[in-house]
């Protein structure tokens, strides 16, 4: 009953005389080339097409560098290099493979600041996140998988684990370095060789990783990094000498990939879109739940496949939750990603911003009640205010479709049955969140929510030891943990 207090007109004011002065991260120490080539067989080589495309800083629209565009011939070269390297790499003892992977992890820690700054420049995410989450977690994935390299027989006893061969990996633009680590580390630990394609808007940290891998002394051809857009990806997917495709990205492309490799021997794992339900029960610790909701949807500008983009609030606490959510949103700082105080950085690309704005328009037209924080946003660059849609309906497109931006829909519910049905009533099934003080309720829901990951009283927690992946149109296969090694092994 104490929760259902009367709510007065009392209003908090977060516009204060005490503003935070800008605190930009120093970028003087990083070295970036004007032009980046393809990393094939341990060296940087010019693309066959001689074509390069520009990569921009989404916060300033400034060009940072040019990146080579790989065509089918380049991809073929990379696959051949990987095939050749596979002979030796797969026969190396697990202990030796582990040493190389450990070395990559340590080098990444040593150059953490440089990686963080470049990740922020190229992708638009706040330096706070790239510094505290992306880069340390990427290094941890290498550390974790390095440890498994010589213990595969113990991880899968009596199964005689063997590597698959050459794996083609295609990663998205939302966590460029981290996704590269998620993909490369288990593949190497299992004894495979790799051809990886980063997303075209965010190639730089993968190319810096290529430099790091070269410096680490990893045998030539074990990791090859080819840059380019969809065509380059298609060349990898369709290459006949690739044994496995690992893809993280949109559901549409995932379906295409699945179609194009049907009838071949290639193995496949897909980590696709999501539209996660974040469910707050009346007995939850409300302030912490609100904080979790904010982290769930506004982390990385909402460019997170497992973002908690559908909020379900139990009716009796809906008013207070929404009020607190609005107040919390007022304190979020949107702006220069390089500023250490920025909470929400730049939207990754013009196209993505257009898509988000289109959905905001759709939401308004559908009749949901929009609320946006009153923060100032820079006039240049791609920025979007944190946005709520209140009174959203299950049949609204903004509720059904993945927006991949800082946009949260809010629905209320009365009973557990109702919220389970609504939470599951979506083609996706990647993640979900449950907020309650009652342990039994958590276990009840984790059994019934059709989602690969269910967080309880927290959200967006990632650990190399924990498997991650989805149900339904969110894909199949797991990354992280022992489960993440399995797709890279013949068992």
């Amino acid at each position: 009953m104490s929760k259902k207090k009367e709510i007065t007109k009392a209003k908090l004011d977060f516009k204060t005389d005490w503003a935070y002065a800008s605190a930009p991260e120093d970028s003087g120490h990083i070295s970036l080339k004007k032009q980046y080539d393809l990393f094939i067989n341990g060296e940087f080589v010019k693309p066959n097409s001689k074509k390069y495309f520009a990569t921009y800083n989404p916060a300033t629209d400034q060009k940072i560098a040019e990146v080579a565009e790989a065509d089918e011939k380049d991809v073929d070269k990379a696959v051949k290099a990987a095939r050749k390297a596979f002979e030796k790499w797969s026969k190396l003892s697990g202990k030796e493979r582990g040493k190389y992977i450990f070395r990559i992890a340590r080098l990444m820690q040593e150059r953490a600041r440089e990686f963080a700054v470049i990740e922020t420049m190229d992708g638009g995410k706040s330096i706070r996140e790239s510094r505290d989450i992306d880069v340390p977690l990427a290094a941890n994935h290498f550390f974790y998988n390095a440890g498994w390299a010589d213990k595969l027989e113990y991880a899968f006893p009596n199964r005689n684990p063997k590597p698959l061969g050459v794996v083609g990996q295609i990663i998205p633009w939302n966590f460029p370095l981290l996704m590269a680590a998620w993909k490369i580390a288990p593949a190497l630990a299992a004894g495979n060789t790799v051809v990886l394609k980063p997303a075209e808007t965010t190639s730089l940290t993968a190319l810096k990783l290529a430099e790091l891998i070269r410096d680490s002394g990893l045998p030539n051809g074990v990791v090859n990094i080819v840059t380019g857009a969809g065509k380059t990806g298609a060349a990898i997917v369709n290459h006949p000498d690739i044994n496995k495709i690992a893809f993280t990205g949109s559901t549409d492309v995932g379906k295409l990939i699945q179609r194009s490799i049907s009838g071949t021997n290639k193995k496949l794992t897909l980590e696709l879109g999501g539209k996660a339900a974040n469910i707050i029960f009346a007995d939850a610790a409300i302030d912490q739940a609100v904080e979790g909701v904010v982290n769930g949807i506004f982390f990385n500008q909402g460019h997170v496949c497992c973002a908690g983009s559908r909020l379900f609030v139990q009716e009796s606490v809906a008013d207070i939750v929404i009020r607190k959510l609005k107040d919390r949103m007022e304190t979020l700082i949107v702006g220069d990603p390089m500023d250490k105080n920025t909470d929400i950085g730049a939207i990754n690309s013009k196209e993505q911003l257009l898509k988000i704005n289109e959905y905001i328009k759709i939401g308004k037209n559908e009749g949901a009640e929009i609320y946006q924080s009153s923060c100032a946003i820079p006039s240049k660059g791609n920025f979007c205010r944190p946005t709520l849609f209140l009174n959203a309906s299950q049949s609204h497109r903004i509720v059904q479709e993945e927006i991949f931006g800082p946009v949260l829909t809010v629905q209320t519910f009365r009973t557990i049955e109702e919220v389970i049905e609504k939470a599951n009533n979506i083609p996706y099934g990647l993640s979900a969140g449950v907020w309650t003080d009652k342990g039994s309720k958590i276990f009840n829901l984790t059994n019934k929510l059709r989602a690969g990951v269910v967080w309880a009283n927290t959200y967006n927690k990632f650990d190399p030891a924990s498997p991650f992946g989805g149900y339904k149109e969110s894909g199949f296969g797991r990354e992280g943990g022992l489960h993440g090694l399995m797709p890279y092994l013949n068992l």
Binding site: M1, S2, K3, K5, E6, I7, T8, K9, A10, L12, D13, F14, K15, T16, D17, W18, A19, Y20, A21, A23, R128, D132, D283, A284, A285, I286, D287, Q288, A289, E291, G292, I320, R323, T331, K340, N341, D437, N457, T458
Partner: protein
């Protein structure tokens, strides 16, 4: 001054998730406060300090010196604010009051058998009256932790309300001694009880028990103040006390305050630091910001 609306049932106050609180706190500590906002923050901190001496061996001389310092923080640097108040035992209130005439610095007195609160109702009332008669502007009372932990919330509520009655115009700070309450849920409960009973300020600790003020505990209290404000439209102040001895830490508290309750609370009318050694560290930082170099602690008076 208790809310006109019906009192909540203090047996079922909102729950607190400790992990969530600690994560939120960690986020505050990553804010980077530089340049002019640092200077502004430092001066604000200085102006929010309750300069405190609460020892058995306190003398009138010591209190007088402290009071002088409260007004003349570091005369080498012009335009420094004073502290908010000095905080002393009831027996020293008269001395402090006389020393501070015309300065604008308030005199706060601890009361109700501080620090343990182990005494009778009558003595607690008398203790408070004595401090007020000697000129105390503010009363820092302690709650009866034994009764609280026993679940005797009505007792705690009534005691606070009774002291509040005695206080009249003097502002009442209610000390929970959070180091003895053991859980954040209890901290939240104590906050609700105190505010509904009429507290003008809620305060973490006496400084006599470790742990004293921590950021998680303070955040729980700030969020309780926020909920109370939502429900009643009445502002309540916050005073973390004990254990905050560096400017850096104090700045993190200020960030937490700003982002939890907003601009209205950013003054010594609504926020205080109960501290003795913090002031000199803030002065050193201000000197550093002004001159560009750190100075020896010997340049700052220790009163």
């Amino acid at each position: 001054m208790a809310a006109k609306s019906i009192l909540p049932d203090f047996r079922i106050t909102p729950t607190i998730d400790q992990v969530g609180i600690e994560e939120r706190v960690a986020r505050f500590t990553t804010r980077s406060i530089k340049k002019e906002s640092k200077m502004q923050g430092l001066k604000m901190i200085l102006n929010m300090i309750d300069l405190t001496t609460l020892e058995g061996k306190d003398t009138e001389g010591k209190v007088k010196q402290m009071c002088y310092k409260a007004v003349h923080m570091h005369d080498v640097i012009p335009d420094l604010p004073t502290v908010a108040a000095v905080c002393v035992y009831p027996s020293m209130v008269k001395t402090a009051k006389e020393s501070l005439i015309g300065s604008g610095v308030k005199v706060a007195s601890v009361s109700t058998a501080f620090p343990s609160g182990q005494s009778t109702h009558e003595i607690k009332i008398l203790d408070t009256k004595f401090a007020l008669e000697n000129g105390a502007d503010e009363i820092d009372m302690v709650i009866s932790r034994g009764e609280f932990l026993k679940g005797n919330y009505n007792f705690v509520f009534d005691e606070i309300a009774a002291i509040k009655d005695v206080c009249g115009k003097a502002r009442l700070k209610v000390i929970f001694e959070t180091g003895e309450l053991s859980t954040l849920d209890n901290v939240r409960k104590a906050s609700d009880i105190a505010m509904y009973a009429g507290a003008d300020f809620i305060k973490t600790s006496t400084g006599k028990i470790s742990p004293a003020a921590t950021m998680p505990v303070t955040l729980v209290m700030l969020e309780a103040i926020r909920d109370y404000y939502y429900a009643t439209n009445r502002m309540v102040g916050m005073k973390p006390a004990g254990g905050i001895s560096t400017s850096k830490l104090a700045m993190q508290y200020l960030v937490m305050l700003r982002e939890t309750l907003g601009g209205a609370w950013l003054s010594n009318e609504w926020f205080r630091f109960g501290a003795s050694s913090l002031a000199n560290d803030v002065l050193m930082q201000i000197a550093k910001q002004t001159t560009g170099v750190y100075q020896s602690s010997d340049y700052f008076s220790k009163d």
